[in-house]
Symmetry: C2
Subunit: 516 residues, 2 copies
């Protein structure tokens, strides 16, 4: 562990501003000193990326695929040392780390496969028609990478949504060099992972600058990267405040660039009344597990449960609370995240109309007390701040008088990553407006399940209307996330010799093409 | 002709601010008085659109397709009366009007076909795996309309990129109600076309609010529409200043929304030296036609020609100038567009290093004098303002010392809709950097042709890096333009009864689906 920046293949530490990561379980700083990147290093990383972008275009898709799968191999080899660091920089468990590593590796191999198959480029061909007046030209188009991409790692996913997580791997797969603004909470994990990426890049002869990893505790490095004219897109996972700030900077540039920020979500859950009664036990278990998973530090954590007040709902709340509070409390990612959790939770609980049940007893430092709060539908509707996300093991149950009141609450919701509807088909059919209203608010609707455990597969859509994400049209999870970082270029009457192999007349690469 | 606004199916003229359109050929106002929309009408149009959005979802794709094709039929029926008005509000010729009408109708029938086939929704299915630990859920996703869309008509395409032009028809096809901010230069044409759209909507039983047409001469109506919380996307064709202003407003909203602005482009052309000599006659004819088509008032007008100074290039410039200046000068769209052309052209020509040849003689009002200007590559490189678009029949020839100097000029270009490369394959191969550099700058590369005459077909890409458009990832022409106005929604473990027909297990609509 060096604490240095990787500017392409070069280690560099020109700056004087330093920081350390923190072990929230031991409540102490980890030993390595990280050196924040300075403007010279930023400039060099972006220039290298811009040059690498050109060179990368000329590299075969087989070699690109080999690069991605080699990263996966190296992560597998280094898994133990990475996970040891991961635990010390996040407070997350070894088991959680194993799962996240598996997910990260799966993403790498999925994209490696996608690049190798080379069928993601939306190849489209319209043949010329010389008999038409005016002549119809030959037109062929395909997707190309958009240019260098800056990725901001996520605090809560040191592996799967950070250094070589979903944003980075989809950008590389699209043909875009990546500059990671390493997350300061787990800069050491980031360095170890970056080393695997860079080693794989060298072994597979990728151009210098295809990947850089820059350290920063403050916001200046990120701002400088987003403002750099040669940067063409940004991936971000984090808070609404942080995502919106980057979005605003990117849109105020002389040349605006897209920012794909995956931000806040409370992931509303609707428990339909008739269906609830026989399911109290099952659903309360399911949701106690979901709310507490990884100490509630998931963007898909169910933070808002809507039910119709009844004996069954009382029983559900009782069981949910009991099951949730029985669990061992867990350490949160960082003291700052813990204190933010406490502050936001307290804001909710200070409202006199809100009742609550909180994990009791003495707890270690930085441990989040899981909490269930309760409020009436009427009070909820008059207090829009109750929708705000409390990042951590917290959920607010909204007790309504009727399904219609639930629908009235749903109509006021901001954009969300997910919504869940729990109910038998017949009862959902009685209240189709629940689904209709939610459909306008979310990117994914879950039936009779929990929103956590985001499956990585082509049909996943992880991205919802603002403020869940900055562009609801794109997913941050699954192979379709590559579309964020690609744009079409059309070739008109291009001589066959000059066409990319993907578009040549004889289809030498034997690809799927829309052809007319 | 009423001069009123269409707020859904209702004619409305609550305002007091009025304006008239102008006949640039006769240099006089047309008779109808148009009443600018007021906030009450804006509010009502958006609310109706938002409600229509919900209702529209429940309408079969066959009925939606019938709506679009019925518009095409009504436009055909009313073609003569529409074109009479078109000519009086644009100064464009009857022949040009016929071509544009044909294009508009073709777009309507293409999208009608697309909606009927219903294969644009990117259907994706991942089947559940109950044997996996953890259980793999069933996931299905498809595209849905994004919500009400505001369309700003283009001054230079009163039919094909205005009231029911490319933006409107692609939004409707995606399932989005459309509110048109009618272009004030051709508000009468807009009203006639809007009447066809509304009649077709009524006949095919579309919900009230699926389409509205609002008049405005000032910018306030447009700003209010873009700021309305229920509006979810914007289509715009026009100037960089106008497009950027709307883009900024949309991005500063509490909930930002996408703006697809197709703005400025000078469409650089590179004439390779060895290939030029035997082609002087052919290429000069081709480019004289392209520069003068519709008085140069096309977004794909070739405004910048790069050549290597030689006897052949001198001969090319001489012939190009002769052929261009021989043509009859044409009336521009409006006195304001004519004066803007004169002003921008004068700015270029006042530069002492710029030589030029201009159409001479006495001309009628509002007629644009076609002009060829000449400058050295060296001077061009030091004067970045020379790249700025002069909207009208103007082209700047940049005489370079070598292809390398051309490449140096190209590297400094802003984003463009198109670039054209004229040269034999062998010579292009000698200078592949020309193509490589241009590829990063444009949305479409034309070989041995002209950029004007944008073919409407699936493989067309009409949209380039900023400032050619605000999002290079989307086309404004062709069926793929539907993707601007659609977003995916994923359904997790959704009971079959509740799934949209497109995603049901048995594939009852017999659609193409990505399935795993």
């Amino acid at each position: 562990m060096t604490g240095k920046n990787s500017v392409g293949y070069k280690l560099s530490a020109l700056g004087t501003r330093t920081f350390q990561t923190f072990n929230p379980v031991e409540n102490s700083y980890n030993e390595t000193i990280f050196v924040e990147a300075v403007s010279q290093e930023i400039e060099e990383a972006v220039l290298l990326a811009s040059n690498a972008f050109e060179e990368f275009k000329g590299i075969s898709h087989f070699k690109k695929a080999a690069f991605l799968s080699r990263i996966a191999e190296l992560l597998t080899e280094k898994e133990d040392v990475i996970l040891q660091r991961y635990i010390r920089e996040s407070g997350l468990s070894y088991e959680r780390g194993k799962i996240e590593m598996k997910r990260t590796i799966f993403q790498l191999t999925s994209f490696s496969e996608l690049v190798k198959e080379n069928n993601w480029r939306e190849l489209s061909i319209d043949l010329a028609d010389d008999s038409r007046i005016p002549l119809k030209p030959d037109l062929r188009k395909m997707l190309f990478g958009i240019g260098p991409v800056v990725v901001f790692g996520a605090s809560n996913f040191p592996l799967a949504y950070s250094t070589i997580g979903g944003d980075s791997v989809s950008a590389l797969a699209a043909g875009c060099p990546v500059i990671v603004k390493s997350h300061p909470l787990h800069a050491g994990t980031g360095e170890l992972v970056a080393n695997c990426v860079l080693q794989a890049a060298k072994e597979t002869e990728m151009p210098n600058g295809i990947f850089s990893n820059l350290n920063a505790e403050g916001f200046e490095v990120g701002v400088a990267l987003v403002n750099h004219p040669l940067v063409k897109a940004v991936g971000f996972t984090g808070s609404i405040k942080g995502g919106r700030a980057l979005f605003d900077i990117a849109n105020q540039r002389p040349e605006p660039i897209p920012v794909f920020a995956e931000m806040g979500s409370v992931n509303p859950v609707v428990l339909l009344p008739k269906s609830l009664e026989p399911k109290v036990d099952e659903w309360s278990t399911m949701y106690a597990d979901s709310i507490s998973a990884s100490c509630g530090q998931f963007c898909t954590n169910p933070g808002l449960l809507f039910c119709v007040k009844s004996n069954a709902s009382d029983e559900f709340v009782e069981q949910l609370t009991k099951k949730l509070l029985q669990k061992d409390a867990q350490t949160m990612l960082h003291p700052s995240i813990h204190s933010s959790f406490e502050r936001l939770k307290t804001e909710r609980l200070e409202d006199e109309a809100v009742r609550y049940f909180e994990k009791e007893g003495e707890l270690d430092c930085n441990v989040g007390r899981q909490t269930i709060a309760l409020v009436s539908g009427k009070h909820y509707q008059n207090n829009p701040n109750l929708e705000e996300e409390v990042f951590g093991p917290f959920s607010l149950v909204v007790e309504c008088e009727s399904v219609n009141e639930i629908i009235a609450c749903l109509k006021k919701l901001n954009g969300q990553l997910t919504a869940s509807v729990l109910g038998k088909v017949d009862e959902v059919n009685e209240h189709l407006d629940v689904v209709k209203v939610l459909q306008n608010k979310v990117g994914r609707i879950v039936f009779n399940g929990v929103p956590t455990g985001v499956e990585v597969c082509p049909s996943m859509h992880h991205g919802g209307p603002y403020p869940a994400s900055t562009d609801a049209r794109f997913t941050a999870v699954g192979i379709d996330s590559i579309k964020r970082f690609a744009r079409p270029i059309a070739f008109q009457n291009c001589p066959d010799e000059l066409l990319p192999g993907e578009l040549k007349h004889s289809n030498p690469l034997n690809l799927v093409r829309r052809e007319k």
